[in-house]
Amino acid sequence: MRHSWKRTLVCSLLLAACLYGSARELRTVQAMRPTARIEEVLYISSPDFVRRMSLGYSGLAADIYWTRAVQYFGRKHIFRSNRYDLLDPLLRLATDLDPKLVVGYHFGSVFLAQKPPHGAGEPYKAIELVKRGIERNPREWQLWVDLAFIHYMELNDFVAAAHALEQGSTIPGAHQFLKTTAAAMAQRGGDRETARKLWSYTLETTKDPLIRENAVKHLRALEVDDVVPQLETLVRNFHQRSSVQPRSFAELVAAGWLRRIPVDPLGRPYKLMADGRVEVADPDPLPFITKGLPPGREPSIFDEHGARALREKSKDDPGTKKLFHH
């Protein structure tokens, strides 16, 4: 009995040692090999073939392909890639395997439409994807919003965007926002108020934290772009009236021109520069802003701050670390 207990202990220890050793060896081998390019290969591109191979369980196959599309996009996005060659075929596979996969059309079109490095920069393919989704899911009015979003944000085609919203508003159960925004869009074209409505809609209707964060950042940028010119006008007016160039917002508050020191959406006070310009305290956590930037700094369509945070977060993953290395 004692002998058997000892043997079990020795075998267990050996087993643990072998498993640990094999895992270490595998890490070494992975580090030695050049970056695997497996994600750039789509071995099967025919939805019919995958459907047959899945023995009728095409719903599960679609979920797997959708997850693969999300992973592919996420990885490319983190590394600011300008090429998303597999994104469209992966989305096509996922949505052909499960034509009711509304989430695939909804987010897939966003991934496809946005300009690189934010997305694949393929707005026409995104439009095709959403139109396929609308055809297969005629009661999903949200897809018309997605279509309007692409026309509005990526192609600046306000007429097509308004038309899409108008079409969507005729579907039973559609949000009231579609009708009002369609009218506003048709009337005024590309104003910030319409953009604000679209991003607010995105924030209200998605649960995904990354997409919500993106919408929040765009809304913050719109607020900064609204407030900075207003403050600059106020400073100019003050200067004209009092012939004194204010050196800080505290002077404007003291003079009764402002109720309190103005702060950006992150709660940091705006900076009043000597030449009367207004700048945000730190432009890094406020991507997409076009006003309030320091001289020489170009407006960015890319959230560098967010991407850096994501990269920091993913540094523990050996696969990601290897990609950084390369």
Partner: protein
């Protein structure tokens, strides 16, 4: 007669449990809890959809594998162990033996699927409560998909038992699995028959009616989206499976009746 059939069925069930068939539940539990907990981290907004697709697919595939691998050995094992002679020397008719074995395995699969369904609904409830939704009305359609999966087991078990009644376990496994695969393409074969026309078309049409139609028993993808299943489909599928399985079991009884065990 009923007591003899039920005794054989109960013993078949007990034997399957003794063979540790229900161990597959552990793997199922790992799969379900893993997909419920981890998928939210790597995908977007399909946790619920994935859990339903994954859960129902796993219940179906695990059951089919069990049906085939237990079903093919139902008769041959009794012959190899020579227990068949002891059974048939008693006042047990051969058809009672086949029917008892069949019902025993269907019962095993039903219990197995029931336990899996319990775990699956627990995972679904956990996920639903995490997203503050709770069970939805459309989730009731999942029960129809589960019922169809049971019908699938009824068909596959009948086929495995048929092959077991006259061939070796390996050949029975190959034939059963082949029919399962072909059965999922039954609708494609019918479409091909229409396209081909003539004698070939007629042959394909015959094949399409002979192989089990498993495609119409798979409603996993649609119930995952909360779509209802029509009552007519439930009724006609039930009738189809009862008639088809009865035909297969009758064929198995006919073959088994004519076998010489001396």
């Amino acid at each position: 007669m009923i007591s003899r059939v039920s005794s054989i069925a109960f013993n078949t069930f007990r034997e399957a449990v003794r063979d540790r068939v229900l161990y597959n539940l552990i793997l199922f539990a790992v799969l379900i809890s893993g997909s419920a907990l981890l998928l939210g981290q790597i995908s977007i907004e399909i946790e619920r959809l994935f859990l339903i697709n994954m859960g129902l697919t796993a219940i179906s595939l695990f059951g089919v594998v069990i049906a085939i691998f237990i079903g093919i050995a139902l008769v041959s094992k009794e012959i190899d162990k020579r227990t068949l002679y002891a059974i048939l020397s008693r006042p047990v008719r051969r058809w009672e033996f086949i029917l008892g074995k069949y019902l025993g395995l269907v019962g095993t699969l039903t219990v197995n699927a029931g336990l899996m369904a319990f775990g699956f609904f627990a995972a679904l409830l956990y996920l639903s409560q995490r997203s503050y939704q709770g069970f939805q009305k459309a989730d009731a359609h999942i029960l129809v998909a589960l019922y169809f999966i049971l019908l699938q087991f009824v068909l596959i078990t009948a086929l495995a038992l048929l092959f077991s009644s006259f061939s070796s376990p390996i050949l029975s496994a190959v034939l059963s699995f082949a029919l399962f695969v072909v059965g999922t393409f039954a609708e494609d074969i019918r479409a091909a028959a229409i396209m081909a026309g003539g004698t070939v078309g007629q042959m394909l049409k015959t094949i399409a009616y002979l192989v089990p139609n498993l495609g119409s028993l798979n409603v996993v993808a649609s119930v995952a989206h909360g779509e209802p299943v029509s009552g007519a489909l439930v009724w006609h599928n039930t009738l189809y499976v009862v008639l088809y399985s009865a035909a297969v079991i009758l064929l198995a009884v006919l073959i088994f009746d004519r076998r010489n065990f001396k």
